[in-house]
Amino acid sequence: MTYYELKKVLVKPSTRVLGVVLVVVTLVVIALSVSTVEWVNDDGNVIKGLSAISKIRDEKEKWSGKVTKDYVANIIAKNTEYNNSVSADIKDAENIIYAKKQGFKDIREMINYSFSEFRDFDYYKIDELTEEDANKFYNNRIDNLKTWLDNEGSQLYNKVEKQYYIEQYEKLEIPINYEYSDGWKNLNNNASIVIMTSAIVICLIVSNVFSSEKQYREDYIFYSTYRGRNRGIVAKIKAGTILTTIIYILALLIFTLVTLAIFGSGGADCAIQASGLWKSFYNLTNLHEYLLIFIGGYVATLYLSMLTMFISALTTSAIFSSVISFIVILLPSIIMTLPLRQTTISAIGILPDQLLNVNNILRQFNVYCIGNFVILPITIMLCLYFLLTVVLIPLTYWSFKIKEVK
């Protein structure tokens, strides 16, 4: 029965169109990340796209290693040396200097973060530093957080939360290891677009699982059969879950394999702090982040898919159920653009759209406290939406089972 439920949805022309849309969006996301890669040659000429990727990788791989104080001092020294190596009068001087420095671009970014104010980023901060400043590289991270929590952040967080953030910062294993990890960086930064598109496509597809009977007037036959009001409904729920899982995994698989094939898979074990998340209090590697993004996205997509099926079973309307899912996915993002209180932000912070964008959660300072016990939003969301998905299964079953055909 599940086979025929799957077949019913899969042979529909609209399902095929949606599948193509998802693949195209995935490939466009990858193409866009490829198009932004730049490599500058010794003459200061910029090369973009696929050919730049292998060249920049070679440059960056030269700087692999533990980011110790000596390592940072060396980077600061090299930066100063390269800045002074070319006269400003020469044509394309900036590009020629950049060509020398592009290999340690990521470490340069970490240094800039470390020595800028907590909420600021000064791209040229490293140019003001001396080798002695390297001693403060890791301490700055904690000191800047403490300063911020004592000032701007003082009203935003309670004592327990502040203490938790500081402890997490102190727990970061130093010196962190640096490797070329643009593959994982691109993957983790852009996965949310693919996941969100997958969720929308999946909701549109599964909205037909429970509404097709009414749409094609098959409900008379379905409900008058021996298995219609029991296994028939179970087959529908199974089909919806299988479709959700397969489409989600396929989309992520295409995105992951193509991205890693183009950018390389090195740097999986590097801390996320070395991949643009310097300020994150989550002590994770790039691979951990990817797995969290994958699991979080799957739980949210499964929940949204089940919600769509539930509304579809309740109303037998594919359009209505799709619209509700759209609202659940997109509305919080729109609300977040408005000026909001911290309590409202905290409440919105556990809506399912957040799980579709775990990378964003890792950038935020948001935890929930019960007394002295701190719970991470990601933990709450994973448990909450998994439980809600489980609860929706019998609700979907019963709301479809008791239907009358008027």
């Binding site: 036959i221 409900y223 008058s224 021996y226 029991n230 055909v405």
Partner: protein, 272 residues
């Protein structure tokens, strides 16, 4: 097999689609006649557990069909008036899905499907159902209703869309299949049931106006079936005065099938 209807009523707000009917059916073919809106489809939906009655009960061999639930539906075959199908399936795929919904196992289903497809003349058709003609779709509907060899077969306007030859074939099929089961067949074409139905039920405004054999219907009351093509105004008068088994309206005229002892209208033709 006995199907007993007891004080069955279905109300939609103030409108009574079925009004306190009681009747008992045993094995045999029952022809349900009545004009559009008489309550035939509502009654059939309740017999198929698609609708719950406002009051009253339907018993199958002494047990409430709503309590029997799946066990009752296991014995049921139903062809709705508005027969829906999945347009992107072939006839075989569609029947296989319905067979599984009816709890028939794969191998048995495959045998049953090829038998029924041959019976309804769709055996070589491998095209999607969306390419089928109205008659082919109706034949497919009949095949799906027969898949589980039902003890209770409910057919709502089964001959709509069939050409005269197909209608004859359909009657033969129903006659062949009617042994040891209850067949309830609604139609507005009297000739569909005149030769095969053991019992005729006339329905009007939610009530059974006549129940009995065709012979009784015709001999006891000297009733004849008449077809009249009249203007809308006259149609209203005839509906009030006579038992009308069906009504078809177009913008100018109304075609009525009237059961009456006398010629109900000067241009009426005797059908039987």
């Amino acid at each position: 097999m006995q199907l007993q209807i007891e004080n069955l009523t279905k109300k939609y707000e103030d409108y009574k689609a079925v009004d306190s009917i009681s009747y008992t059916m045993t094995n045999g073919i029952y022809g349900l006649l009545g004009a559009n809106g008489a309550g035939k489809t509502t009654l059939m939906k309740m017999l198929c557990t698609l609708l719950k009655p406002t009051s009253g009960t339907i018993y199958c061999d002494g047990k409430d069909i709503l309590e029997l639930g799946d066990e009752y539906r296991k014995k049921l075959g139903y062809l709705p008036q508005d027969f829906g199908y999945y347009p992107y399936f072939t006839a075989e795929q569609y029947l296989m899905r319905v067979a599984l919904l009816k709890g028939i196992l794969n191998q048995e289903a495959a045998k049953k499907i090829s038998f029924l497809l041959e019976k309804v003349g769709l055996v070589k058709n491998k095209k999607m159902i969306k390419t089928f003609s109205g008659g082919m779709i109706r034949r497919l509907g009949i095949a799906q209703a027969m898949l589980n060899d039902p003890r209770i077969l409910i057919l709502d306007e089964p001959t709509v869309g069939l050409d005269p030859n197909e209608r004859i074939r359909f009657r033969q099929l129903i006659s062949e299949l009617s042994e040891d089961r209850i067949v309830l067949l609604s139609t507005h074409i009297v000739s569909d049931v005149e030769h095969i139905a053991n019992n005729i039920i006339m329905m009007k405004k939610g009530n059974f106006k006549f129940c009995g054999s065709r012979d009784k219907l015709l001999s006891d009351s000297d009733i004849s079936a008449w077809i009249c093509k009249v203007e809308h105004k006259i149609s209203n008068e005839l509906e009030k005065k006579y038992k009308v088994s069906s009504i078809k309206r177009d913008s100018e005229l109304v075609e009525l099938r009237v059961l009456s002892k006398d010629k109900p209208y000067r241009e009426a033709n005797d059908l039987l």
